[in-house]
C-alpha cells in the first residue's frame, strides 16, 4: 500500500547539504502496523512528512496505492491526505476555536465522509461522550490526544501516520491512549506508521524499524 523506494532527503546547511534520509526502502501492507524508531534528529519525522505528501523527496519515489506521489500536484496530494490518510501529532494540533465534536469530525467533513454512526462510536470508544460541546482547552492532555486520534480516524483512512502520539502524556495516560489506538486500528483495518523513540510504545506493533544516520535498519522494540 505504501512503498518508499530509494528515498533521499537533504537540507541545505552552510557546510553543504545534510542528508537526513538516504536510500530509504520501505513497504507497508494494508492493515499492517510499523514502528519507526530512532534518535532525535534521525529523520523520523521527515520520513513521516514525506509519506504524508507534506514534503517531497530529493530522490527516489513514494507510491501510495500504486500511485507515485511525485506525479501528483499539491492539490492532488492534499486530496489524497484528506481521503486516505490520518495524521496524529505530538502537539495534537487541535483547532482551539472548534468544539470537541467539530474537531472530531473536521477531517471527515473536509473529506465529505462524515458518518454519524462511526462518529458516535468513536466518541464512545474515546471516552469523550458528554464532552462534545467543550473546547480543547477544557480537556486534559490525554483527552486532547484521544480527540486528535479520533479526528484522524473519523474519515476511515487507509493509513494512520502518528508522530510521537504519546510524547506529551504521562506513562499511564500514554498506555491508555496506545491501547485504544491499537483497538481502533484493528477495528477499522487501518495501517499504522508510528514514529517513536520509545520501545514500550513500539512493542505492540507488527514490525519495527530503526533509523540511524538517515538509513533504515531492522530494529527491535
Amino acid at each position: 500500500m505504501l512503498q518508499l523506494t530509494d528515498v533521499a532527503k537533504s537540507y541545505p546547511t552552510p557546510q553543504g547539504p545534510l542528508f537526513v534520509l538516504d536510500g530509504i526502502d520501505l513497504h507497508l501492507a494494508p492493515g499492517e502496523s510499523l514502528a519507526l524508531m530512532g534518535e532525535s534528529g534521525s529523520g523520523k519525522s521527515t520520513l513521516l512528512h514525506l509519506a504524508a505528501g507534506l514534503d517531497v523527496p530529493d530522490r527516489g519515489e513514494i507510491h501510495f496505492h500504486e500511485r507515485a506521489l511525485s506525479a501528483l500536484d499539491e492539490p492532488a496530494r492534499a486530496d489524497l491526505r484528506r481521503r486516505h490518510l490520518g495524521l496524529v501529532f505530538q502537539q495534537f494540533h487541535l483547532v482551539p476555536s472548534l468544539a470537541v465534536i467539530d474537531n472530531l469530525t473536521l477531517q471527515a467533513r473536509l473529506a465529505d465522509r462524515e458518518d454519524p454512526d462511526w462518529t458516535d462510536h468513536l466518541l464512545e470508544r474515546l471516552g469523550l461522550t458528554g464532552l462534545e460541546q467543550r473546547y480543547p482547552e477544557q480537556l486534559s492532555g490525554g483527552q486532547q490526544q484521544r480527540l486528535a486520534i479520533g479526528r484522524a480516524l473519523a474519515p476511515r483512512p487507509d493509513l494512520l501516520l502518528a508522530d510521537e502520539p504519546t510524547g506529551n502524556l504521562d506513562e499511564a495516560a500514554a498506555d491508555r491512549v496506545l491501547a485504544l489506538l491499537h483497538e481502533l486500528i484493528h477495528e477499522s483495518r487501518c495501517a499504522l506508521l508510528m514514529v517513536t523513540h520509545s520501545a514500550r510504545v513500539a512493542a505492540p506493533l507488527d514490525r519495527c524499524l530503526r533509523l540511524h544516520y538517515g538509513r533504515l535498519e531492522p530494529g527491535e522494540p
Binding site: H49, A52, L54, D55, E74, P75, A78, D79, L80, R81, R82, R83, L85, L87, F89, Q91, H93, L94, V95, P96, S97, L98, I101, D102, T105, L106, Q107, R109, L110, A111, D112, E114, D115, P116, D117, T119, D120, L123, E124, T129, E132, Y135, R151
Partner: protein
C-alpha cells in the same frame, strides 16, 4: 450517548471557511476591531463623499435652473422693470423673458428660518432647454400653470412647508429644483413678492439685443457657476476624507494581521488535514469579502448618518464662502453607494492582499517561523525608511519649486503634502527604533529601563501602525489648527480694517442722494463713507478672452486710508493713495494672483455699456474670503465712468461725550423721522455686522474642525485596539518580570511610560510635519484654491497642545490594558509558566 447526528455536507471550502470563522467566535474582540476599523474608515470617507455628492447634486440643479446659463438684463438702478418695457423689447424683436426673483418667508415658518427663493417665470418665452421652459406637449399643465389658481413647483425639501402656506398655488414637487427654491408663474410671484414688475429679464447668451441706456446686460459667464467656485473646497474635503480612510485602514491592517498570526497554527493544521493551499486562500478571500461587505454596509450607514450631522455646517460654509446653495438634505445617487462599497472593499483588499500572499506561501512544516519573519522586519524597516526619505525629498523639492517659482498649483500642492505625510510616516518606525536605541544607551545602568526599551523594540512591528496613524492625525491637527487659527486672526483684523464706519445704510436708490446730503449735515457724523458696486469685464491684452470682475467704489477719506490694508511698504502707501485719486486703481490679491498683475501693470476693463477703459494698478490689497477678483477706485469715478448704481453709506461718528450707542440711537431716530422707518431699518450697526461675520466664519470651519477631531479619535482607537489585541502576548512577556520581583504597579507604570514616551516621540516628529503642512495649506493650497494668501501664524501653545494630545491619546489608549493588568490575579500570571 448522544442521539443520531445528521451528516453535514458543506464541501471543503465550506468546512474550511466555517473553521476559519470559528476563530472569531472565540475572539469576538478581534472581529469587533476589524469591523470597527472598516466602519470608521468607511464612515468618514463616505460621509465626505455623501456631502460632496449632495453638493454636486445641488449645483447641477442650480445650473439646470437656467439662471447661470442665461444673460441677465437689469435696470442700472436696480429697480424693477415695468411689464411695458418687457413688452416693448419683445415687440422690438429681442428674445427676452421676464423673471421675478425674491425671497419669500412662508406663513407659519419659525422665526429665524431662512426665507425661500421664489422665482416667477414665463414658460412661453423662457429661452433654453430648461424643463421649466414651455413644456409643450403637455398642454393641460401649461393651462394649469397660466390660469388661476396656477401651480407652484417646489424643491422637495420645501414642498411640505409650501403646501401649508395658504397664499401659494397648488404645489407640485420638482426634484430638479435647487434646494429651498419655489418656481411659479410670473404673475403669481410678482403678487406674492409685492413687486410692480419683473426684477430682471433673461436672454440666451447668443441672442442679440440693443438695449436702452437705463438697462444693462450681464453676461452669463460673469455669473460663475457655483460648482466651479466650490470645486476647490470639495477637493479639500475629499483630501480630508482620504486621510480618514487611510487612518481607518491602519486599524484594519492591524486587526487583520493579528487575526492571521493567531491562526497560523490553524492554517497549518488544515493543510495537514488535506486542505489544498488554493482552497485555503479562497476561503480566506471569502472571509475578507464577507467582512468587507458587512464593514462597508456599516461604514456607509455610519457615513450617511455622519453626513447628515455635518451637512448643515458644510452648507453654511459654502453659502458664506461662495454664495452657493447646497441642500441640507442628502441627495445620493446610486453610484455613491456602489462607490462606497468599492472603496471599502478596495481598502480591505490592500490590507488583505499581503495576508493572502503569506497564506499562499505558508510552509506547512514550519511551526515556529515567526522568528524568521521578525528577522526580516529589520530589512523592512530599512526599506521603509529609504522610501520615506525619498518621499520627503520629493516633498521638499516640490516645496522649494513652489516657493521659488511662486506658481501656486493645487495639484502640485496636494502631491507635496501627500508625499510629505507619507514620507514621514514611513520614516517613523526607523525614527522610533533609533530613539529607543539612543535612550537605551543613555540609561544602560538601570535594568528596568533597559528592559523597557528592549521590549519596545520587540513591540515595534505591532506598534508602528497605530503610531503612524497617530502621527498623521497629530500633524494634520497641527497643520489645520494653525491654518484656521491664522485665518481667524487675520480675518478679525481684516474685519476691523474694513468695517470702519459705525453705521451702514442701504437706502433705496431714489433716496440715496437725499440721504447722503442729509447725513453730511448731521452733528454726530464725522465722515461719510459711500460705497458702490458695479460689474465689468476684464479683457486680456489681445482682447481674446474676457473674465468678470467686481468693481468697488470707495471714498478715500483719511480714516479709510489709515486702515485700508495694502501690500506695500508703509513708505509707499501715500503715493499709492495719491495715484488712486489721480486715476489709477487698486486690485485685490485674488485678481493679482489669477491674472498675474503687479503694481504698475495695466488692466483693460469693458464696462456694462461696452466701452473699454485702460487702468493702471497702483497697489494690491488683501481681500480674505472674497471669491471674486475685485478692482477698487474712488466712488465718484465708479459712478461716472461705470454708471454704478447707488450703494451703501457708511457713517463714522464724531468723537463726543456720551456713549456710542446713545449717539447712534439719536441719529437713527432722526433718520426715521426724516426718511421713514424703512430707511432707518436698513441701517446696520457695525458691531452687529462684525458679530455676524465672525459667526459665519466659525461655521465655515466647523466642518474642518469636526473632521480633524474625528481623525484624531480614530488614531486613538487604532492605538487602543492594537494594545488590546496584544494584551495576551504582553502578559507572557510581563509574567517573568513579575516573577523576578517587579510589582504589578511598577509593571503598569512601565507600560504606560513606554506608550506615552513612544507617543511623545511620534509627536516630536509630528511637529515639523504639522508646521510644514500648515505652510503648505496657507501658502500653496489656499492660494490656489481660494485665491488669497494668509500670513503664517505660529502658535506656540498649539505646539504644546499637540504634544499634550499625543500623551493624552496614548494615555487613554493604555488605560484599559493597564487596568486589566492591574486587576489581573497572580494566578493568571502564573499560568504563563504553566502553559510553556
Amino acid at each position: 450517548m448522544s442521539g443520531r447526528r445528521p451528516a453535514r455536507r458543506a464541501g471543503v471550502v465550506g468546512v474550511t471557511l466555517a473553521t476559519l470563522l470559528s476563530h472569531y467566535r472565540r475572539h469576538p474582540g478581534q472581529l469587533a476591531m476589524l469591523l470597527l476599523g472598516l466602519w470608521v474608515a468607511g464612515a468618514l470617507w463616505s460621509s465626505v463623499q455623501a456631502i460632496n455628492a449632495t453638493a454636486r447634486d445641488s449645483y447641477a440643479r442650480a445650473e439646470a435652473l437656467f439662471e447661470t446659463r442665461l444673460d441677465r438684463i437689469e435696470r442700472r438702478d436696480g429697480t424693477p422693470l415695468s411689464p411695458a418695457t418687457y413688452a416693448a423689447l419683445r415687440r422690438d424683436g429681442m428674445a427676452v423673458s421676464p423673471l421675478v426673483a425674491g425671497e419669500l418667508t412662508l406663513a407659519g415658518s419659525a422665526a429665524g428660518e431662512a426665507p425661500l427663493r421664489l422665482l416667477g417665470i414665463d414658460p412661453l418665452t423662457l429661452p433654453g432647454t430648461s424643463p421649466l421652459a414651455r413644456r409643450t406637449g403637455d398642454a393641460a399643465s401649461l393651462r394649469d400653470w397660466l390660469l388661476p389658481p396656477h401651480r407652484l413647483r417646489a424643491a422637495p425639501d420645501v414642498a411640505d412647508a409650501a403646501r401649508r402656506d395658504p397664499r401659494l398655488p397648488p404645489v407640485e414637487v420638482d426634484p430638479g429644483l435647487p434646494p429651498a427654491t419655489l418656481v411659479t408663474d410670473i404673475g403669481v410671484a410678482q403678487r406674492l413678492l409685492g413687486l410692480a414688475g419683473p426684477t430682471r429679464l433673461v436672454i440666451a447668451p447668443e441672442a442679440p439685443a440693443e438695449l436702452p441706456d437705463a438697462l444693462m446686460r450681464i453676461p452669463a459667464r460673469q455669473l460663475a457657476s457655483p460648482g466651479q467656485l466650490a470645486d476647490s473646497f470639495h477637493l479639500n474635503l475629499t483630501a480630508m476624507g482620504l486621510l480618514a480612510l487611510v487612518v481607518g485602514l491602519f486599524i484594519v491592517h492591524a486587526a487583520l494581521g493579528l487575526a492571521l498570526e493567531q491562526r497560523l497554527g490553524l492554517l497549518r493544521t488544515l493543510r495537514a488535514l488535506g486542505v489544498p493551499g488554493r482552497t485555503l486562500v479562497v476561503a480566506l478571500g471569502l472571509e475578507l469579502l464577507t467582512l468587507g461587505l458587512v464593514g462597508a454596509g456599516l461604514g456607509i450607514l455610519g457615513g450617511v448618518l455622519l453626513a447628515r450631522l455635518l451637512l448643515p455646517d458644510v452648507a453654511a460654509s459654502l453659502a458664506s464662502l461662495y454664495d452657493s446653495h447646497v441642500g441640507t438634505r442628502l441627495a445620493l445617487p446610486w453610484h455613491f453607494w456602489l462607490g462606497g462599497v468599492a472603496i471599502i472593499l478596495g481598502g480591505l483588499a490592500s490590507a488583505g492582499a499581503g495576508l493572502l500572499w503569506r497564506v499562499a506561501r505558508l510552509d506547512v512544516l514550519a511551526l515556529g517561523h515567526a522568528q524568521a519573519w521578525r528577522a526580516r522586519l529589520g530589512g523592512l524597516l530599512r526599506r521603509q525608511a529609504w522610501a520615506g526619505g525619498a518621499l520627503i525629498m520629493l516633498a521638499a523639492g516640490l516645496g522649494g519649486w513652489l516657493w521659488l517659482t511662486g506658481d501656486r498649483q493645487l495639484v502640485a500642492g496636494f502631491v507635496m503634502v501627500t508625499a510629505a505625510l507619507l514620507g514621514v510616516t514611513l520614516w517613523l518606525p526607523a525614527w522610533l527604533a533609533g530613539s529607543w536605541r539612543l535612550a537605551a544607551r543613555l540609561g544602560r545602568r538601570r535594568a528596568l529601563w533597559a528592559w523597557a526599551l528592549a521590549d519596545l523594540q520587540l513591540q515595534l512591528p505591532r506598534l508602528q501602525l497605530p503610531m503612524m496613524a497617530l502621527l498623521l492625525a497629530l500633524a494634520t491637527n497641527l497643520g489645520v489648527s494653525s491654518m484656521v487659527g491664522g485665518f481667524r486672526l487675520t480675518f478679525l483684523d481684516w474685519l476691523d480694517q474694513r468695517l470702519l464706519a459705525d453705521l451702514y445704510l442701504h437706502p433705496e436708490a431714489e433716496r440715496h442722494d437725499a440721504l447722503q446730503a442729509w447725513l453730511a449735515d448731521q452733528p454726530e457724523v464725522a465722515t461719510l463713507l459711500p460705497a458702490r458696486h458695479a460689474e465689468a469685464t476684464l479683457l486680456d491684452a489681445a482682447a481674446q478672452s474676457a473674465a468678470p470682475v467686481a468693481l468697488f467704489g470707495i471714498r478715500p477719506a483719511a480714516v479709510l486710508r489709515a486702515h485700508w490694508p495694502l501690500r506695500l511698504p508703509a513708505a509707499e502707501r501715500d503715493a499709492a493713495w495719491q495715484a488712486l485719486a489721480a486715476g489709477e486703481v487698486f486690485v485685490n490679491e485674488q485678481l493679482a494672483n489669477r491674472y498675474r498683475r503687479r503694481p504698475g501693470d495695466t488692466l483693460t476693463l469693458r464696462g456694462a455699456d461696452g466701452r473699454r477703459h485702460r487702468l493702471s494698478i497702483a497697489a494690491i490689497y488683501p481681500d480674505y474670503g472674497n471669491p471674486r477678483p475685485e478692482v477698487v477706485m474712488p466712488v465718484a469715478r465708479l459712478t461716472r465712468v461705470f454708471a454704478a448704481p447707488p450703494g451703501s453709506l457708511g457713517v463714522v461718528l464724531r468723537d463726543a461725550p456720551g456713549s456710542r450707542r446713545q449717539r447712534l440711537d439719536a441719529l437713527v431716530t432722526r433718520l426715521a423721522a426724516r426718511f421713514g422707518p424703512a430707511t432707518a431699518e436698513s441701517a446696520i450697526d457695525q458691531q452687529a455686522l462684525k458679530a455676524d461675520a465672525t459667526r459665519v466664519f466659525e461655521r465655515t470651519f466647523a466642518i474642518t474642525r469636526a473632521l480633524d477631531a474625528l481623525t484624531l479619535g480614530v488614531a486613538a482607537l487604532a492605538l487602543l485596539t492594537t494594545l488590546l489585541a496584544q494584551a495576551g502576548t504582553r502578559r507572557a512577556q510581563l509574567a517573568p518580570l513579575w516573577a523576578l520581583g517587579v510589582s504589578r504597579r511598577r509593571l503598569v507604570g512601565v507600560q504606560c511610560l513606554q506608550l506615552t514616551g513612544t507617543a511623545l516621540g511620534t509627536a516630536l516628529l509630528a511637529l515639523p510635519l504639522g508646521l510644514a503642512l500648515a505652510w503648505a495649506l496657507v501658502a500653496v493650497i489656499n492660494v490656489a484654491a481660494f485665491g488669497w494668501r494668509l500670513p503664517l501664524h505660529l502658535f506656540p501653545l498649539q505646539l504644546l497642545v499637540t504634544l499634550g494630545l499625543a500623551v493624552l491619546v496614548a494615555g487613554l489608549a493604555a488605560l484599559l490594558p493597564a487596568w486589566r493588568l492591574w486587576r489581573m490575579p497572580p494566578r493568571q500570571l502564573l499560568q504563563e509558566f504553566a502553559a510553556t
